[in-house]
Amino acid sequence: MDEAKTHNNSNKPRPRLLKCLVIQIISHSTFFSVVCFIAGIVALLLLPILAMNTYISENALMPGSANNMLSSNDVTVANKLVKDLTDLKLRSNGSPIESRKLIAQYMLGLDAEVTYHNFYPQLNQFHPLHFFTSPDSSIISKNISCASVGINTVGIIRAPRGDGKEAIVLVTPYNPKKVGSGDALSLGVAYSVFSLLSRVTWLAKDIIWLVADSQHGEYSSVSAWLREYQAPHFHRVVVNSETCNESSTMEGKLHSRFRRAGTMTVALVVKVAEEGNNFDDSLSIYAEASNGQMPNLDLINIVNYLAVHKQRLWMKVSKMESLLGSKWLNTLGVFFESIGQYARRLNPQWKFGIPANEYVEGTATLASSMYYQGLGVPTGPHGAFRDYQIDAITVEVSPKVSPTKMNRHIDFILRFGRLIEGVVRSVNNLLEKFHHSYFLYLMTGPSKFVSVGYYMIPFALLAAPLPIVAASLHVFSSKTTSQAPGASEVDASLESWKWIYSARKVFVIHLWGVAISVLPYFLCQIPGLTPTTNLTVWGSLAVLSLVILYSILGYPTSVAVASGAEKREWVNLKSVTLTAVSIGLCLMSIINFATAEIGALLIVPFCLMARPLMLDIQARSMRTLLLATLNLALGFIAFPPAAFFLLKSAFGYSDGYNISDYWNWMESLWAWNSATYLYIGMVHLPCWALCIHVLFHSC
């Protein structure tokens, strides 16, 4: 070994540049981490300015190049359907069979293939092993009464020019038990488009119109239909067939078997809001699917382009309303604007900076986009499609006046129907799957987005200090141990493997994280518990298991004690913890970027700052005491429930601090199989616990 070392030295008169750079960075890790962290936050705040305008990337789409063909004839019939549905509601008090029959009849009138699809509501059940597995068709809750059977009505038009290998899906969620006027109107819109498409000659893809029975929720009906479409299951639930056979009353015109068209290329969920917005007809787009997956940006672009340029609709994407009025954001916007003006004065070519109000709007939209992606819960029935790699969005129109009071249904249907027609026609031109435009982006406005290339920068800057500080701590600890006197050679060399003990501790704590992430699965099995008791039981079990696990596995070993190393152990522990955090954050940034970004904002400062309080208190200077308080504050912020309530109040959603809110929130996360839940349980919480351990380490 010595031979090798001398060999190395003689061969390299000066160290390599890269090595030099790494050594420099590691030795100035504090400086670098502060700079990186601040730069990360600044870059995050700059994102709305860096946002690009959307553009249609796929040439084949050609939106708006053809004239609209939707005629008043289609619309009149559609309006009749809307009227019939509302009449039916008034007459027979909304019998679900009647309205379903009515829709089927209208579909049959267009020579479509019509079937009913019966499904059984599948409860969103938490199963710890179902993350990241492909959609499974085998779990069906047993013992379902007939009344709860949902029935989707599906109409299919075969394309005259197509080969039946591809299809476009229109979805209108609709509750037959409680027909809202908005629902009826959305059915009318979809019908008008459907009736046009049933006779056009240019259609190259089959059209599927799914009237999703939303009495068990919009998402579950769509996902049940998709599951049957994509992955049929062969062991059905036995339901009392006599009472459920109402669907077969449609005298043989209906297809009794499940009908399929080709591979779905695009799905559009069409909705009309029940409430008028008293402003103008506006269009909202919801695109976030499970785990922050987004449809291809081109799909949003088409809708946006057609709505704004052709139908003169007002486009909206969701915003964090509370941020719009915030003063500090406005100040920041003004600041950035003035910088932009200054830059332009220096060189008119520099187009930096946007007006302050645009900046505030962009930031609010970005925050909301990040929140919904980070939550990992789909924002509508379109989320079900993304699980099968189908691009889908929900398009919701909120009319100027409420649909019940609206007296000009025809105009509304014509306007909205033309939009849908345009989108379908444009998608119909597609030769391949959407692949040109972005999949990974954040919206900062209806026509502005931040692509992955930009939004990775703040995250990379936030996460970069973690490995650097970990390396510098590791180097530091190995330096100090090598100077330790009185150890035999083997002990001294074992010191270089001393991180193993810390790694074991970190591993044990992560194991604990896994255990408490699985715990709610068992808690949910016990019926009749309130959220508060659940949360209490969960918390106490978590603490108990932590104590047990720590005393069994994580206790400092005899070797560590013998060499007197446990005093410096926190350095090693922190180094391993930082490594674990950086691995966890990197993983999460690939699974769900927004979660990783928010998580990094919360956990990174605490992880970087954490050092034993004892050291600070012993020093008794102003600076160290400040450091200690800062540490405590950061530790409090990074604790998941505290972070939850703090963020909630910061964004103005505070309706009292009920502790059960947290349980409900977590429940919604695991019920939707959100990876964010796993992140909190397996990365964030264990690392927080480890940092707290470092904080209270005895020195």
């Binding site: 070994m1 990241f132 790694a503 490594t579 699974i591």
Partner: protein, 452 residues
Amino acid sequence: MTKKKKVQSFWMWVIGSVTLRLILVYFPRNLNLSSRPEVSTPLTSLRRLAEGYWLKRSSMSPYAGSMYHGSPLLLTLLGPLTVTRIEGQPDQLLCSLVFVIADVISAILIRAAGKSLQAAYSSSLKVLGLHQLSENSEVLPSGDFAALVYLWNPFTIVACVGLSTSAIENLVVVLSLYGACKRLASLAAFGWVLATHLSLYPAILIIPLILLLGYGPDAPPRKLFQQRINLEVDNSSSSASSHLEEEVKDQSRVLKVFAWRPVVHFLIWILLWSSYVLVLCGIYIQKHGGLQELFKRTYGFILTIPDLSPNMGVLWYFFAEVFDFFRSFFLIVFHGNILLMIMPLALRLNHRPCFLAFVYIVISSLLKSYPSVGDSALYIGLLGLFSYELKDIPFSFLLFAGYVGVSLLSPVMHNLWIWRGTGNANFYYATGIAYALLQVHYVYPSSLNVQI
């Protein structure tokens, strides 16, 4: 004190690892490990083996349809187990049990080999007069350590639970190393022949095996012994004492000279065993194209890389991209790469045949056509044998973190590419490259460290 403690708890740890494996085997099929590309390659997948067995049972060639590419012997051994179902038990329970047993036996063999290595090493250190060093080297029971590393390595566990036949391939490799360490020529030959038959790449292990049989287990470089003896002779000539001369003679006996006898035995045994294996295979596959077909479908499949489905290695992507007319050229380049490294390494490390074998295994698993985690399991386990020499290997923590990171990242990238469709092949391939880089970094500093 530490040694005793380690030995006492050794069997506890072994039982613990077996229990963990059994728990994982009994876990619901949600784990789905056997369909992971990292675990089951076209060569090691049990599903393919079951298919081959089914084909054979319906009196077709087991190699029909490019499903199975393993050995006929595995087919006879594991095939009947794949179709035996026990009511209420997991589907492939018997096969899983076989793999668990194989893992345990490998671990025990590694332990025994490690013990003999350690004994040989410390005795040669004593000869050199480095008593201090030899005492130190005894403190670390590297055999136990290596065996436990092998058993508890997550890669081994995943490969075992994921029903990959690499557990058996590893077992025969370890068997041959053990046989050579104990100087059992027949056992070493048996292991080598089977390992070569099962996965071809262990063929290059013949050099370390011959060295091991010829020179004995790892020792410090021979010139050190030479120096030592010269020194002793100088001293003794001045004092001219007959007693001392006697001692020097003893020591010169310790000085390693290449022993031809066991090597010749080894070669003869290889001849015997390989003809035996060939005869068995020939009988098995007689009606389906004979041995020629066998070689084409097994070794040919390994060497020409026709299956480009993604795996942990770097070759699938490369050969998916490369133009067809360059294909054979690059095939030669990549396989030649392994062969190229054999000679220099053998010259440099000829006094350390076991370590040489380890380096060969790492290199072949790096450049293999269908690598899986089972291969890494083997070499990480073997690295434990050199724990004393590698105790101050630099960047150990970096390597560890890298392994953890890559092994977590790989399934996520695969999910992003295959299931979500938002990533592409480059994402997954990037982890493959990172993994290969790690392996290089793994073998390079360790080979620097093991020079003495």
